[in-house]
Amino acid sequence: MALTNAYIQEKLVEKFNDQVFQFSTDSGILSFESAAENNLKVLQFLYEEASLGFTFLTDLCGVNYPDNKGAELVVVYHLHNFIENIRIRFSIGVPVAKPDVFTATKLFESANWMERETYDFFGVNFIGHPNLKRILNVDEMDYFPLRKEFPLEDQTRIDKDDEMFGRG
């Protein structure tokens, strides 16, 4: 029998009860959330449970919702089951004041660079990561540019002519 979203949800709820929540389906992809401290348990269950078999981490990224108090930063995992060709989306929220998340590098080697990228742009602190440092931006950068509290425009410019930028 082909793996269905309903079956995945059923297995997750059976194992974690109310520790997993916010189930929804968007474009046929099942999405759900859990508390930040449970991320490895959920990922490991999805990996090791024979009938689920989400053994590939397609993507790991961050999102910043500045108005979502207590969970301003969200880390999203996209997982893939190669045999059934099914993807799911799993996210956790952490407060921007203490953005600590357990690293997934012990489960997925591919998480290494993706977690460095998420740290680079959002400042998520991946506990246990073997080499958590900037990967894409210059090492001297002293902020996390994709957080919405920082303006996107380059702040080193002093010669900006508002008239030429359409706001004179």
Partner: protein
């Protein structure tokens, strides 16, 4: 509205006989000799055999490829010899967006060039950061190295690149051979932290 203008003082083409000859510098001609200043002769030699080093990172580089190719033919200006070693080249042509992470590389390439060296910033990105007014892009290469000529455009057409190149030729031809030893030039390099 402020007018945006390009090429305020266009240079008249010398096309009287469809062949233009370079002008001889001021001097005293005579039977079998010609006396002039050393700097004029050196300038004449330098400006007609500039070796460009293309530092092409994006679409302006594509325009430069057209400039080098047969239709626009930069070798008409004595610069067919494009070098890819900074040690051998006189003219650094920076074409394209320079990310902040690329800035030290560009600076290193500039430092590896021997004097006399010139720099031309081709396109909006190299000149000012262009549309990439963002945390990751250098807002103009003149933040890390001195620039002699800026070519506007996004990307500039090959004619504009050639125009910028001819401006460089004018600078090279008129440059005093003592300029690179002058106090002013040393101050300029020091302002970029270059000894």
């Amino acid at each position: 509205m402020r007018p945006v203008r390009f090429n305020l003082n266009p240079k008249e083409a010398e096309i009287a006989d469809a062949i233009s000859m370079g002008k001889a510098p001021d001097g005293v001609p005579g039977d079998g000799f010609f006396a002039t200043q050393l700097s004029s002769v050196v300038g004449l030699a330098r400006k007609n055999s500039l070796w460009p080093l293309p530092f092409a990172t994006s679409c302006c580089g594509i325009e430069f490829m057209a400039t080098m190719a047969s239709h626009y033919d930069l070798s008409r200006f004595g610069s067919e010899r494009v070098g890819f070693s900074p040690r051998q080249c006189d003219l650094l042509m920076v074409m394209g967006t320079i990310a902040k992470k690329m800035a030290p590389v560009l600076r290193q390439v500039y430092l590896q060039m021997a004097e006399p060296r010139w720099v031309i910033a081709v396109g909006a990105c190299a000149s000012s950061g262009g549309i990439f007014d963002t945390y990751s892009v250098l807002q103009g290469i003149d933040q890390v190295i001195p620039v002699d000529v800026y070519v506007p455009g996004c990307p500039p057409r090959p004619e504009a690149i050639i125009d910028g190149f001819m401006k460089i030729q004018d600078l090279v031809g008129q440059e005093s051979i003592r300029r690179r030893n002058s106090e002013k030039y040393r101050d300029l390099l020091n302002s970029y932290g270059i000894q």
